[in-house]
Amino acid sequence: MNKVVNGAREALEGLQNDMTLMVGGFGLCGIPENCISEMVRLGVKGLTCISNNAGVDDFGLGLLLDQRQIKKMISSYVGENAEFERQMLSGELEVDLIPQGTLAARCHAAGVGMPAFYTPAGYGTEVAEGKEVRYFDGKPHIMEHAFKADFALVKAWKGDRFGNVIYKGTARNFNPLMAMAGKITVVEVEELVEPGELDPNFIHTPGVFVQRIFQGVNYEKRIEQRTVRAKN
């Protein structure tokens, strides 16, 4: 068993216009930088991206927005870049804003074969419009559905050729959830290791969920809000 491919180009084979993608990361933390660059190079258009955020003007999904490759964003928080705002206000870009926990749960549900579930998040708000409302223990909940995605693009720390991976720090975020949910899950890692090097007891994403894995290159890992305190 060998899921290792030779870089982003091979990893994204089959990625086509108008597909739906899950893209891991929170802000610019834990985003699949190599896959994003490759998509810019490929020039695929009409993409629907399920991703918590939409990058900044010159990094992350902002690079795809800049080339007008994204038709629709499904996110919980966006608009940290000017081109995004312009496209949203002009109507070029569809934006579906959903609660962050619901976003996470809909990815997870897709991965674990649960087509629908009930959550209290969004009840009584415009998020609930058109959705089934149901009371459990006297409390209103709305029904939400699992996502579907042609590709899930995931960034991890280390992984082996069986596709077992671990994440580092809060770069974990949506990545393990999306890894479970893609029809084709692509993981780019900072370090490819041999099977057996990762402790079976501490695997974040078991290889069964992963179809393709490769060692990424030239990670920039940009920091959005550098906040520090002075050493005295």
Binding site: F26, G27, L28, C29, G30, N52, S75, S76, Y77, V78, G79, E80, E85, M88, L89, L97, I98, P99, Q100, G101, T102, L103, A104, A105, C107, H108, T119, P120, A121, G122, Y123, G124, T125, E126, V127, W157, K168, G169, T170, A171, R172, N173, F174, N175, P176, L177, H204, K221, R222, I223, E224, Q225, R226, T227, V228, R229, A230, K231
Partner: protein, 218 residues
């Protein structure tokens, strides 16, 4: 009148030893600076960490360690890191004892609006809708009135809602109020602010009973 730091300091008095706490962006973030020394609380950041510590020392920032405001952070001893589904699982499952959020409007039934102003650019609700729909203990930290002097404590919210009947307490620059079935109940007033000032600045139903003490900050 309280300033932003004083609002945060007043809310810090609500903290109890052993609580897990989620602080929103803005004034709520400042609360971490005022945790009483004799108690220990654990801060959750909903992007996936419990036991968030202070900002890193200069030069020690790690791009893989951020909070929900995308700021670089550190982890305390005993911290844990997890994915976003688990993080919101903690929230929906009521494992977080206190959530403090900012708001644009709060109604006297406890509705909250803090994510969208029609006609303006909408950035999204982030985790706010999950937080307010789930937590049993939600405190709103905000100014009592907006920049035009209009009350933000209303009979009904005019902006699109983030959640309904969820806010338990409001701490503003003017007052501390509980949300009760009969409206806002005035508990404390800021130094130099009279009950009359608060009545004037509150559009929603306001209950004033007996003597209203001044907010104590120390």
């Amino acid at each position: 009148m309280l300033d932003r730091n004083q609002i945060a300091k007043r809310i810090s008095k609500e903290l109890q030893d052993g609580w897990y706490v989620n602080l929103g962006i803005g004034i709520p973030t400042l609360i971490a600076n005022y945790v009483p020394e004799d108690i220990s609380v654990v801060f959750q950041s909903e992007n996936g960490i419990l036991g968030m510590g202070p900002f890193p020392f200069e030069g020690e920032e790690d791009a893989d360690m951020i909070n929900a405001g995308k700021q670089t952070i550190t982890a305390m001893p005993g911290a844990s890191i997890f994915d976003s589904a688990t993080s919101f699982g903690m929230i929906r499952g009521k494992h977080i004892q206190l959530t403090v959020l900012g708001a644009m409007e709060v109604s006297d039934r406890g509705d909250i609006a803090n994510w969208k102003i029609p006609g303006r650019l909408v950035k999204g609700m982030g985790g706010a809708m999950d937080l307010v729909a789930s937590a049993d203990n939600i405190i709103v930290a905000m100014m009592h009135t907006n920049k035009r002097g209009q009350s933000k404590l209303l009979k009904s919210c005019t902006l699109p809602l983030t959640g309904v009947r969820c806010v338990k307490k409001v701490v503003t620059n003017m007052a501390v109020l509980d949300v009760t079935p009969n409206g806002f109940k005035l508990l404390e007033r800021a130094p130099g602010v009279s009950v009359d000032d608060i009545v004037q600045a509150t559009e929603g139903r306001l209950i004033v009973e007996g003597d209203i003490p001044e907010i104590e900050l120390d």
